[in-house]
Structures are given as C-alpha cells and as structure tokens.
Amino acid sequence: MASEVEKKAVFDIDSAKEVVQELRASFVAGKTKDYEWRRTQLKAMLKMMDENEPQIVAALRDDLSKPELESSIYEIAMLKNSCKLALKKMKHWVMPEKAKTSLATFPSSAEIVSEPLGVVLVISAWNYPLLLSLDPVIGAIAAGNAIVLKPSEISPATASLLAKLVANYMDSSCIKVVEGAVPETTALLEQKWDKIMYTGNGRIGRIVMAAAAKHLTPVVLELGGKCPVIVDSGINLQVATRRIIAGKWGCNNGQACISPDYIITTKDYAVELVDSFKCELERFYGKNPLESKDLSRVVNSNHFARLLKLLDEDKVSSKIVYGGERDKSNLKIAPTILLDVPQDSLIMNEEIFGPLLPIITIDKVEDSFDLINSGTKPLAAYMFTNNKKLKEKFVEKVSAGGLVINDTTVHLAEPTLPFGGVGDSGMGAYHGKFSFDTFSHKKAVLYRSFAGDAPLRYPPYTNGKLRLLKALLGGSILGIIRALMGWSKA
C-alpha cells in the first residue's frame, strides 16, 4: 500500500525527510536484515516481472519505442537472471569470510563480516529504465538495506509502472519508489543516506557526490564516456561489423552507456569497413531504417535536437557516408556513419548517446591507444583483432571501466565481472556479488584471548622490550628467539 507521502501533491524536503525516517525505523527494527525477508522480496520481484511482462514491454515502447526483443531480453531477462543469481548465491554472500592472522597478533582469529549499510538511495537512468532501477535494488535487498528508488522522469511510463508494481509486490515499509524530476531529486539528495548509487551523466554525478559529501555518504557513480572501438585488419569483418551494430543500434539505438561511441581504424581499412557496415545495416534494418520496427527511437525532442546539432555542424555534415535521414515527428534518426570528422568537432567531444557512428582513421593501429588515452577514461573500450601482441597492448595501455576483445557490450551480461567506470566514467562497481558488496559494509572482526599477554606491549619501556618488539613485528621466529636470548642489538 503506497503511503500518504507519495500521494501528496508536492514531494518536498519534508516529504523526503519523512520517507527516510520511516525507512530508518524499518531498518533499525531489523526488518531488512532478516534473511527470509530478503529472499521474499527477491522472489516478489521475480513474480512481479513474470506477471507483468506485457505491461513492461508496453511502457518501454511508450517511453523509448523499444523493440519487444530488446525489452524482453535486455531489460526483463537480464533482471530475472540477476534476481535468480542473488537468490541462489545469497547464502554464500552473507557468510563471514575468514581472514588470516599473523604472528604479531598470535593467538587470535579474524573474520570479515558483511553488514547492510542502512538506508540507501538508487537514482536510475532513462535508457534502460527497468534494468538500471531494479538491478541495483536487487543488490541492495540482498545486502539487507532499506531502499528508495528514484526512476528517471524522462521515461515516465516506466517510472509510473515501477511505482505501482513495487508498491503492490514489495514491502513498502522498506522499499519505496519516489517519482519526480529535479525538485524531488534535490529534496532526496538533501537527506542523509548510508549510500547513494547514481546512474547517469557526469554533470549530475558531480551534484550527487557534492550532496553526499555533506553527510559523508559513500557513492557509486555509473557514468559514461566515449566508448571507442578499434578495428584492426585481418579479422572476420562481417562478424565484427555485426557485433558493432548489435552493440550500437541494437542497444536502444546507441543510447546506452556502453554502446560503441566511435570507431578507430586504419586509413587502409576504412573503405572496406564502411562497405561492410552498409551491407550489414541494410540486412538488419532494411532500405528504410526510419521505418524499421527493430530500432528504438530517440527518447525525446531535447535529445533529438542535441543529436541533430552534432550531425549538422558544418565540418561534420559533409562527412556522412551512410544514413543521415531524420523524421522529427517520430523522433527517429537513421543509423548514420561518418568518416573522418575533425577531432575538434562537437561529435568527437561529447558522448554521442545516439545512432551516429563516426569513424576516425589513423596510420597504424597502435596509434589508436594514444588517441583513446588523450580523452577521458570511458566506461568501456572494444577492439577487434586477431593479433596477440595488439591484444596485450590494448589491455595494458587502455584505461577504461571494462574491455572486450572481439565483441561489444557482452561483458554487461557477465556477473562475475565488476561493472563500473574509472575517472570520468565513474567510481564503484556492481553486478553479481559486486552488487551485494557495494551495498554492504565489510566489518573487520578480531577475536583475541587472554592467554599470551606480552609484557613488551606495555610500559615501562626498556631497550629489551624494544628489541623484542622489533623481532616480533619483523615476524621472524629466529629473530624473536635471538631477542629473547638477548643476542640482538636494540
């Protein structure tokens, strides 16, 4: 049952305070710590998705014109997997981890205990509005926290649906959805949280972290960047092209944080690459991609205008080698490829987040590493090559959240890999056990006994004690024996 607060006309600072107070009371009462409660909530989430798939697909179509397959697979199926994994593995994740102890603290035993952080805030994004809302929530529940979820107002149908479904299926005294835009988010950010996880852009990421700083709240920021794809020659070009297309236009029409943003290839290979793209794009989306049902639209007119600005810049519009068509009334831009846009163009200086793919050419493939490192660190970087040395160099030199060789975006589906950024692409990571860990405090516990109380710890301080201390901290048995025998110097 949704509480009074969410039904109030205006969600202001007082409303936010009340929400946090209620959740804190639930947390302190131990509701969310209870193992069975966590299992029940995760099972309820699974049921929620099983019983509402058509409604979810419809909401995503409303918000993004997302093709049914993308909704079913990249949002619903991935989320269900994440839930199932948590249900299966949670009993291992909650177990304390034994830690080794050394001679310095002998005799003792040590362990690391996971405990929930408390009341956490998850702010999600509009492009994968279901996945990016509920995947972090899965981690937060598994770790035993109380949660406020703030979905993006730019995908309003999904946000409303989430609010309704979460209220109906999950425990509202511990998990709440707050809808709204800037004023509501600001009200939430004024409160004291035990952790904030934000998925979105760097500008807002800075605002979130600055707000968190007031309360010393730790944050996870999943941001973005320009994810490059390096394409070497001597590869299966058709497979490579298809995988790039799948990662670009197949992922919400390029509106995904890990979508290939731009391509780097050699001058010699560029023509072949462009031809391959033309061929495969037509195979996937037909001669009139603006009419294809298998492409999401651009989310709203703001972003549409933004993308056109990138495309229509003087020195850029002449570089279009494929596509460029647009349909303003349906907010559609056809898959567009550009060749050799200038480095100082707008399109090469901000994250594109749309269906435009610039190809930059260089002389040697090795030059691409410096080119990538001259920009800010992206969330992901991709390389297609069969050259072992190049693979090694790529892995060693390119700093990004995650790397994939000979494919794009698939690392997202791998729960054993931490998913997160570095530098401007963010901080912290999640997925699989990393989600559980990110919403936990890992408490160190040392058990000591009363036996073996070394007088050398205590005053009066003497040279003999100094010798012994040196030997003990040095960890060598021989050293200790020598010190005890008085054979070593102070």
Partner: protein, 483 residues
Amino acid sequence: MLSSMEKSIAELRETFKNGGTKSISWRKSQLKALLQLINQNEDSIFKALDQDLGKSPVESYRDEVGVLKKSVTYTLSCLEKWVAPKKAEVPLLFFPAKAEVMPQPLGVVLIFSSWNFPFTLALDPLIGAISAGNTVLLKPSDLAPACMSFLVETIPKYLDNKAVKVLAGGADIGERLLQLKWDKIFFTGSPRVGRLVMAAAAKHLTPVTLELGGKSPAIVDTLSTTPSKAKVTAKRIVGGKWGPCTGQACIAIDYVLVEEKLASTLIELLKKTIKRFYGENIKSLKNISRIVNKHQFQRLVNLLKDPNVADSIVYGGSVDEEKLVIEPTILLDPPLDSEIMSEEIFGPLLPIITLKNIEESIDFINSKSNPLVIYAFTEDDTFKKRILSETSSGTVTFNDSMVQFLCDSLPFGGVGQSGFGRYHGKYSFDTFSHEKSIMHRGFYPEIEPRYPPWTDFKLLFLKLAYQFDYFGLILLLLGFKRS
C-alpha cells in the same frame, strides 16, 4: 604561468603517462628504498616524534617504525600476486570466451595524513599507492612540524622524485591542492575536513577514501571472571587509551561501558595499572606522549571545565600547560549530554559510563554515530554475536585493544561518520587500483539470434539462452520447441 605546485603535479602526471611507475621492478625498488629510508633514519624518526609529540622510542617503534617496516615487507612479498589478473568464470553460452579482472593504477593520487601518527598515516597509504603503480603527492600535517620537515627533506633522497613528491604547508596549501584534479584522494583526519575534501573531489569526480574517527567504546564484561583476566583487561584498556599518543588516536578507546556493580573494581585496577605504567602523578609522568599543541590542549582542558564533568573526575585531572601535558584522567559517569560524551575526545580523558546490565551497552553505542572500532571485553559468545549483529562499526575487536591495526589481512576503515574506504595489506593496493574487467571473445561460433531483423524464433532463442537453458536451446534448434 604555472605555480610550482601545478608544475610538480604536471610532472607527476607526465611520469605516470610515460609509464614510469608501471613496472613491478620500479614499484619494488621504491618500496625497498622506503625500507632503507626507515632503517637508516630510525634515530632521526624517533627524535622527530619525540619533538612533535613526546613519544618514547618504544612507542614510536611499536606504532610507527615497526608498523611501516612490517607493511613494506609484507607488500614486497605479495606484490607479484596482487598485480596478477584474476580469472573470472564465463558461462558456456559465451564459449569460447575468457574473462578476467586486472588491477590498474588510478594515476596521480593525493594523500593527506594526520599529525598523531605522522609517519604511519603518511607512509602506509604511500606504500599502497606505490605498490599499485601510481604517482603520489603526499601532504603531511603541519601540526607535527618536525616530522613533516623530515619527510620533506628525506623522501627525495631515497624515492624517485619524478613520481613521489612531498609538499609542506598548512591548511591553505591543502585547500589549493583540493582545487586540482586528482585520480584519487586518500584522507585521514576529522569528519569536518573529510566533508570538505569530498565536496572538492566531487567537482572532478575523484574517488576518495576517508579515514575519519568517532567515539570508539570499550565494553567491559570480564571483571568478574578470574583476577588474572581482570588484570589483563585493565592492562589492555590502559594500553588502548593512553598507549597510543596519549589517547590522540582514531582507534584509541574513547570511553568505557561497564556494569554499575563492577565500576569500582575497574577503577581500582585502572588506577594501579596507570601508576605502574606512567608514574604516580603528573610530576613523575613517563612513558607517555604529550598533547600535540596549545589548541588541542585548550580543547581538552575545556572539556573538563563543565562543573558537572569536573565533579565526575575520580583520578587524575592535573594539567601542565607549559609542558602540554594532561595526566591520565578517569571520570565516572559524566553527564551524557556533556561535550566530553558527545565529541570524540582524542586525548587522555577516559569517561566510564555505568549501566545496570552490560547488554544495555548495545543500545548506548547505537545512540551515537558509527565508531571506527568497538572493543568488547567479554567471554560470553551470545553477547559477542549480539554485538556483531546489532551494532555497526569499522571494526570489532574482542578482548583486546589496538592490535587489529597490525593485522594485514583485515580491512581497516570506517562506516557512516567514521568514514568509507579501507586499507592495510592488500586493501591498500586495491584502494589505489582500478579493477578493470576484460572479456576476450572469439569470432566463432556466431549466435545469429543476436541480430535483427527480430522474429519470434529469435526472441524465444534469446529467452532460453539467458536462462542458460541449454537443453531447451537444443530442442528449439532441432525444431522440437515452437515459438
């Protein structure tokens, strides 16, 4: 025109960019050089610590020199293992594929250290930063000026100047440093300054580790066991309060919780132990540090000004302003709303709070913000479990004080107001690293249903694939499943 500070940082960035800190051999050589620095300058280090804080050589060795030597040696022996990529499991669906996580340096890092353990808190994070392959700017606290000078003069003689720099100065230098862009900031200090550091870091999306403080309590439940255990308890409490820099330590015992009926026993034991360790009175005080400066001295003296607090003093209370000494002082049940019971004490004053039942200590601790450590002297296993599950702190140590600091396998850090992030041992390496995910795929086999145009068959295929329902997939491909 770049200032000298900006030039220094530009040099650090250049060194990092050119791969100067990448190789394991470079990292090891720096760590070995640090060990040499410590070994060859032990006496100067003892002298500086005596000058700034009145620490005796044994305390200095135990809490600073020895800890650092142990830390460097441990890091040197584990570095190759830590640097190696870790394999991650990949499901059959992605075959053939290889996945791994590889630690990478963050880049140019800034370390702010505190004045109370001016060597440990500066060099222990430095060890982590170097081992992870970063370039470093270290800003020691100017409130321990002799130690700061030592670091400024000596580090350049042993370590690679292009990669590790030390900057002297006060709060103004700190503020200027915070305006610049770093790849990581590691801060040890107070929550107030921690907020400023994080707010500055937010402008550049710089990740931070904040090692702050709080009121670390000691729950005492072992006085009615055996006399010897009671004695050891008292020794460990005294050692955990006045041992580290006369209570000026983030992990020092801030206050004690004990049952009413045992309070006098505890106080008697503490008095005896204090006298044995530190001398009979303030005139014959020995084996103990002094207060760092007039400002801190005044702050502590002010805590005792409240007449209700002064009335609760049962031992000590004398101060010597000239020598900046406050003798070990015990208070019994000062008012709970007094400053001494709401602020982190960070000094040689020990309030003892009595409870009807020791189990009440859990609620008492929970009424305050999360401390860095909870010390619990108890042999009751049920009580231990309750403390672990019903309180939250950076660390919990049972039946001792301070020693968790020596455990390289335990993460050292806070939670809530006591901070976030952690270090020591491998955690130091991790805190200055980015764990990069890497996935290697082959070109074959290809999974056609990944690509449009979308059909019902492809949808069903992908649904089965995502459930890792390999059997179902086979049936589908053989035509035994209908879409």
